[in-house]
């Protein structure tokens, strides 16, 4: 069993829906596991579009997560 945690940063509507800009979550194997965990914990996030960055680098596919990495959840903004 892995121990440790990840820091999750949330932006825009995601922060609004969860009421949190920053979350500390238990260690996850990868980003798919993390998003599944988030949807379970915050069902209000279901259906909201966002992309993910791991340690401030955008990812396009499921990515393994090491202890201490920071994951950012990035929704699109349209306003002008």
């Amino acid at each position: 069993m892995k121990t440790g945690f990840h820091t999750i940063k949330m932006f825009g509507i995601l922060a609004e829906k969860t009421g949190q800009h920053v979350l500390t979550v238990p260690l996850m194997a990868d980003t798919d596991q993390l998003t599944a965990w988030l949807f379970e914990r915050y069902p209000q996030l279901e259906g909201i579009k966002f992309t993910l960055a791991v340690n401030k680098q955008l990812i396009h596919n499921n990515t393994p997560l090491d202890e201490g990495v920071e994951v950012a959840l990035l929704p699109p903004y349209s306003g002008g």
Partner: protein
């Protein structure tokens, strides 16, 4: 004392940088919350040639953030008002106003004549269209967007290997998936900050000073006063998602579906009607003048319209209009319920609106 003395004395900028600004041609799409502050600083910095595209007119609810406009401008076309503002202060700057919502064909015609594009729009359809045009014509694109207290800024398509908006979000969100300013609200000073940052990126790119936001997206939070930047790389997926040729670009359906509200202006409605199957319906009584002599327009007083239901209109977008937009609004609400679909709109201001084609 020269007009640009304070920036010319910056060793990184100098006379050469000022000359570059003077020769630069910048196209700003959207003269709203982002476009106004961006235009103010581009003009003040001495950008020699500026294009401004916006099909909208000044509304009173714009004034909390659209700082080029005042109470006297309400009802006037934004691009022309912005041009006038700049011309009055700096008559040596060449300003072109395009008082219409740009379509792909406008960009094909107009973008090649500019050096840099600023996305100061307020909807995803336009953002994806501008991004794809910038990638196609290899023009640097300064992107900016806001949501309530937060904003994003980036420099896309700035040369070989430079990421673009589709590297961040490959596909357009579905209509209504993400709220815009009208639904979500926005604090005026945030648009000022993000629009000014867009002007800063443009000036940096033109003069070559500093490090631009190439292959990066900067997230800004006004409430927390914090920044967060994300690294981007150009991806094959993004490449595949965007049209690779001018022909493909012109055929792409940017489908202006982001009109999520029930009210729509004449210009936006006409634009949407060009993009997808649509029908305009004049719901006034037949004796009400003037009439619209347009084959795309049906004349069905509302009492009869409700009874026709689905049979006549398939899945076409429906634009209801009346004399002043007073009757068409509740009519659109009612028709949405009857037809059980959302692509039914009320044209704001009706035939008496200044933008109305019915004369």
């Amino acid at each position: 004392m020269g007009r640009f003395e304070r920036q010319i004395i910056l060793p990184e900028l100098g006379r050469e940088g000022q000359q570059k600004l003077q020769s630069a041609r910048v196209l700003v799409v959207g003269a709203g919350g982002l476009g106004c502050p961006a235009l103010l600083y581009l003009a003040a910095a001495g950008v020699g040639s500026i294009g401004i595209a916006d099909g909208d007119r000044v509304a009173i609810s714009n004034l909390n953030r659209q700082v080029l406009f005042g109470l006297n401008d309400v009802g006037n076309p934004k691009a022309s008002v912005a041009k006038h503002y700049i011309n009055e202060r700096y008559p040596d700057i060449q300003v072109e106003a395009y008082d219409r919502y740009f379509l792909a064909k406008d960009l094909v015609e107009i973008l090649p004549g500019y050096d840099l594009l600023i996305d100061a729009s307020d909807n995803f359809a336009t953002r994806y269209m501008l991004n794809d045009a910038a990638a196609l014509f290899e023009k640097p694109l300064v992107y900016g967007a806001v949501y309530k207290y937060e904003g994003q800024v980036a420099l896309f398509c700035a040369g070989e290997g430079s990421a673009n908006y589709r590297d961040l979000y490959p596909l357009m969100p579905e209509p209504g998936e993400v709220p815009g300013c009208a639904e979500a609200g926005v604090i005026g000073v945030l648009s000022g900050i993000i629009g000014t940052m867009q002007a800063a990126e443009a000036v940096k790119w033109i003069t070559g000073i500093g490090k631009t936001l190439v292959n990066k997206v900067l997230f800004y939070n006004l409430a927390e006063q914090s920044f967060y930047d994300i690294g981007l790389t150009s991806s094959d997926e993004a490449q595949k998602r965007r049209p690779a040729t001018t022909e493909a670009f012109l055929k792409t359906d940017y489908a202006f579906e982001c009109v999520s509200g029930i009210d729509i202006g004449w210009n936006a409605a006409m634009l949407m009607a060009e993009q997808k199957p649509s029908v305009f319906i004049d719901i006034r009584e037949l004796y009400e003048m003037p009439r619209w002599t347009n084959t795309e327009c049906l004349e069905i007083p509302f009492s009869q319209l409700i009874q026709k239901k689905n049979s006549v209109f398939d899945s076409k977008s429906i634009f209801l209009f009346c004399q002043h937009g007073i009757r068409s609004q509740p009519a659109a609400v009612e028709l949405r319920k009857v037809l059980k679909r959302d692509n039914v709109y009320s044209v704001t201001g009706g035939v008496k609106h200044p933008d109305s084609p019915v004369k």
